[in-house]
């Protein structure tokens, strides 16, 4: 058993399931957005602000968008953590590898936090 404090769930199984579930959520969200844009812009007339606010302002779409933003953060953290623990290693970066990896992970965490905060703010401040 290998323990890692910076893994999202500290369990390989939980991370594995979260990554796959979040991928499904993001795929469905992408399909949802694509169909909205295709249906409403089918003849190339463009979509106006009112249509966008109506679409993203509905309660179901707000919840779905929030879920998609959270899924992006979870999926991103697990993926970037995996990349960091694979590549930022003493073999390539010498004795400072752990410090560099921690700095990278803090940077990633901060970016994802800002993304979630900004996304939530954006979707929940829309007029209902």
């Amino acid at each position: 058993m290998v323990t890692q404090v910076t893994a999202l769930a500290r369990s390989g199984l939980a991370d594995f399931l979260i990554q796959r579930l979040s991928a499904v959520v993001l795929a469905l969200y992408t399909l949802c957005l694509l169909s909205f844009f295709l249906v409403n812009d089918g003849v190339g007339e463009g979509i106006d602000h009112r249509q966008l606010v109506e679409f993203f302002g509905s309660a179901s779409m707000r919840a779905f968008s929030a879920l998609a933003v959270l899924s992006t953060a979870a999926h991103g953290w697990i993926g970037l953590w995996t990349v960091a623990t694979d590549y930022i290693r003493p073999h390539y970066f010498g004795a400072r590898a752990t410090v560099i990896r921690m700095a990278f992970q803090v940077g990633c965490g901060l970016l994802l936090f800002i993304y979630v905060w900004w996304g939530m703010r954006l979707f929940w401040m829309l007029p209902g």
Partner: protein, 234 residues
């Protein structure tokens, strides 16, 4: 034939180098790479490599031939040589002891982690623990591993985390005991593999399947371990 061989003697050399050697091959015969190494050793007795059974059973002579891991004793030269040239290197990712000989401690440390032996907490029967033919068939494709290390040393996840990722050879053996109807430590074995590295570092690259000289499929075994973990954890 031009053969480029990885040479490194830590007692003498400052750094490893690829040294070119040439060899006349007999007409109309396709030698195995091990035969070729034996002839090169006649030219230069200081050339070092492991060998034992010379028939693909002991797993001693795993090396990298023109970029592909395999057993030198059962790999025909014609299968790996390109335009009359052959580059022979030690198995990648492991520390080199000398020339084509690698230190396999990390490989066997990971193998040891999966407790590759039968665990049964029931009182032993008078004669033996029986299996039905179907239960025995579950072990086909798992027990044949000869621990040559070709798979694990072809795996990028093992190169990156040889101290944490069990690797394809160890995981094939882990599943061999998980699938054994006589073993009673399944839940415990799965608990030990549930962390983010031991099993879940496998990214399904399938180099292990590509190079296994026994034609085994560690990726499939890893998929089955993941399936068992999901079923146990949900």
């Amino acid at each position: 034939m031009q053969v480029s061989v990885y040479r490194y003697d830590p007692d003498v050399d400052e750094a490893p180098e690829m040294r070119d050697m040439s060899l006349e091959l007999p007409e109309g015969k396709d030698l195995m790479v091990l035969d070729l190494l034996e002839r090169l050793k006649e030219q230069d007795p200081s050339l070092s490599y492991r060998r034992s059974c010379r028939e693909g059973v002991c797993g001693s002579d795993g090396i990298n031939m023109n970029g592909l891991n395999g057993l030198a004793c059962i790999t025909p030269v014609s299968q790996v040589a390109k335009r009359g040239k052959l580059a022979l290197r030690p198995l990648p990712g492991l520390p080199v002891v000398r020339d084509l000989v690698v230190d396999m401690s990390q490989f066997f440390d990971q193998f040891e982690k999966v407790r590759p032996y039968l665990i049964n907490d029931q009182p032993p029967p008078a004669q033996e623990r029986l299996q039905s033919p179907e239960e025995r068939a579950e072990l086909d494709g798992l027990y044949e591993c000869i621990l040559c290390g070709c798979c694990s040393t072809a795996c990028p996840s093992f190169w990156w985390n040889p101290d944490k990722f069990v690797g394809p050879a160890g995981l094939l053996q882990a599943y061999r005991f998980l699938a054994d109807s006589r073993d009673t430590a399944g839940a415990e074995r799965l608990r030990d593999l549930e962390d983010p590295f031991s099993v879940f570092r496998c990214r399904g690259i399938m180099n292990c399947v590509n190079v296994c000289p026994k034609g085994l499929n560690p990726t499939q075994a890893i998929g089955k371990i993941r399936g068992l973990l999901v079923r146990q954890g949900t």
